[in-house]
Amino acid sequence: MTWTTLQTAMADHGYIASGDLAMALHLSLSLGRPLLLEGAAGVGKTEVARVLAAVKDTQLIRLQCYEGLDAAQAIYEWNYQRQLLAIRAASEDGETGKAVEARIFSDEFLLERPLLKAIRQDKAPVLLIDEIDRADEEFEAYLLEILSEFQITIPEMGTIMATTRPMVILTANGTRDLSDALRRRCLYAHVPYPDHETELSILVTRYPDITDRLCAQIVGFVQALRKQDLEKKPGIAEMLDFAAALMGLGVADLTDDPRILQASLATLLKTQMDRDAIPTEVAQRLAGKAA
């Protein structure tokens, strides 16, 4: 598979990837390196992993990072309740201590969390480590170790080697600076807001029955909106919501009804300051230009 076939395969699954992104993804697959995707919220970073899993016809395993994420949530945890029960039951049955110990620290009592699960699959899955910048530095360091060795050591069971190497995709949107070590270990692709052409094709791919006129208007409007000084610029997901809202409301032309346009801005602008920054007149002007 070359990078162009990967690009078309992704397009078949409804994801229009830029050349840079497709190339980075292709290299990440052929070199077996994790891929770090950075970009503003809502430009489709997470979607890349979902589509890649669909293209490769494999499972997507997702680890959502958050502050305070620890090994018990990310890698594995023992099922303590069952262990307690087993110990009780064993003492009634007169099982020996050694046997109990071997039994309660076995696979049966192990709760797999995403990272462990990802390296124990028969077919290499896509492992998505979402919003890595939300986890804290300590977790990042731990993750590095797993990403380089692809093995996990559980003190009670020994080292578990990866049966297959998962395709790893990390996403970040700049909540915090990532360590150089992590950046070095990964290939990198920056996912920008799409240009006019790309966004048009995304919209058409998602909503094939949209009229050409409305489609051009929506994309023009959202692109113009991104040039405004906004706190949170609308991403692709927002643009698709906006299109769905307009189609649901039966709007054929953006400039038709200022009230509907203003109301449907709820799908694009998500803070009070941004709503105030785009009053009806501005919205109308932008819509007029987009037409």
Binding site: M23, L27, E67, R183, A189
Partner: protein, 395 residues
């Protein structure tokens, strides 16, 4: 630009060229190791390396690591492979015209990274006659923005002060250390049972958990980011604040420091110098425009939009040391503070004027800032700073 660079016939081959390219990137500030060179060659085996578009994309994903590098990469690629950077420029150090001490070109503030300017040695003590470089035109351009008086900070701050400040900074840092982590660890006392240990230990007693090990939430340090105003109106207090910053940097390896007057400068690296005096010398080089006018709003905005995004989070205390006299509109200050506040940090404003009897924060800028502050205190001596300790504990 469109023509591909022709390499000399004695060129040893693709691997050497790649090494040359990596060297070129390194010279331009990308941090790359030997591993990346190998990885890049591997990557080229997986694509059609003869196609410049493909090669560019592949190398981009290998060599870049953040958005800024990605933006810079295309230019660097062109200059190496596309016949842009093969012109040999011999850098001959030209004799610098000696200029009157009070006259400085605005160029030297702008000519960042100008390799031809002789005075580039950042660790060399500041001789006082500046590095006013001319571009060979022999003209001096009057400046309307930056007041480029040069002050040698070593005249202002004494090393003893730094030592005293370091002690205070250590204490303040310790005072702010009481934020609890969300991740629990095994500990002697704690609010939750550490199940893993409990089960392990209960095996010895036939499944009967006699000892109940606990998990607790360990302390987490807050990181201090200090932003110091060194404009004209602050001159009297700068020495104390700069000593405090220098002390803070030396006491706390995670602290961050910035100066601003009409623009914002990051001084963390300069202040981390092991030699306190040399740190101040380096700082003097950075603090162009020291004791000029101040643009608090603009500077804070710059901070909120650039460094703030990377370094300020919910475990940060932003400490602003300024008198709040601003020439620009007060709105920009409150905007900037609101933006910072959204990142979840605490904001402390230390105002030297507040120490005066009967001071009211009437400066418009100060009034605009007040609603966003977690703490607003007076500080114009090191003792005042030390007295902040109990307040910071409660933060």
């Amino acid at each position: 630009m469109s023509r591909v660079t022709k390499f000399a016939a004695r060129d040893p081959g693709p691997a050497a060229r790649m090494a040359g390219f990596v060297g070129h990137l390194r010279e331009n500030g990308l941090r790359l190791g030997v591993g990346e060179t190998g990885l890049a060659l591997d990557a080229l085996c997986h694509i059609n390396a003869a196609n410049p578009v493909e090669a560019r994309r592949a190398l981009k994903s290998v060599f870049t690591g953040c958005a800024e590098e990605a933006a810079q990469f295309d230019g660097l690629f062109d200059s190496f492979w596309m016949n842009g950077g093969r012109v040999k420029t011999r850098v001959t150090p030209t004799a610098l015209p000696t200029l009157n001490e009070n006259v400085h070109s605005s160029r030297d503030a702008n000519a960042k990274g100008d390799i031809n300017s002789g005075a580039g040695d950042i660790s060399a003590p500041d001789g006082g006659d500046g590095e006013a470089d001319s571009d060979g035109e022999g003209k001096l351009v009057a400046t309307d923005v930056a007041n480029l008086f040069k002050k040698d900070l070593r005249d202002i701050v004494r090393p003893e002060d730094i030592e005293a400040a370091e002690k205070i900074a250590l204490r303040l840092g310790a005072a702010m250390r009481d934020r609890k982590s969300r991740r629990r660890k095994a500990g002697r006392k704690g609010d939750q049972i550490h199940f893993r240990k409990a089960i392990r230990q209960s095996l010895a007693t036939g499944g009967e958990p006699f000892a109940l090990p606990k998990r607790h939430r360990p302390d987490r340090t807050l990181r201090v980011t200090a932003i110091c105003d060194v404009s004209g109106s602050m001159t009297v207090y700068s020495s104390i604040f700069l000593a405090f910053l220098a002390g803070l940097m030396r006491a706390d390896t995670r602290a961050d420091a910035y100066l601003f007057h009409t623009k914002l400068v990051r001084i963390t690296e300069a202040l981390r110098d092991k030699d306190a005096l040399r740190a101040l010398a380096r700082l003097s080089l950075l603090a162009d425009g020291f004791a000029g006018g101040s643009k608090i709003g603009d500077s804070l905005n710059t901070f909120a939009q650039t460094y703030g995004r990377r370094f300020v989070d919910n475990r940060t205390v932003v400490m602003i040391l300024s008198d709040g006299y601003d020439t620009a509109s007060p709105d920009s200050i409150s905007d900037a503070l609101a933006r910072l506040k959204k990142r979840g940090c605490k904001i402390i404003w230390l105002n030297p004027l507040k120490g005066w009897d009967g001071y009211e924060p009437t400066a418009r800028a100060m009034a605009a800032a007040l609603p966003h502050l977690d703490l607003f205190r007076a500080a114009n001596t090191l003792d005042d700073l030390a007295a902040l300790e109990p307040e910071l504990v409660r933060l």
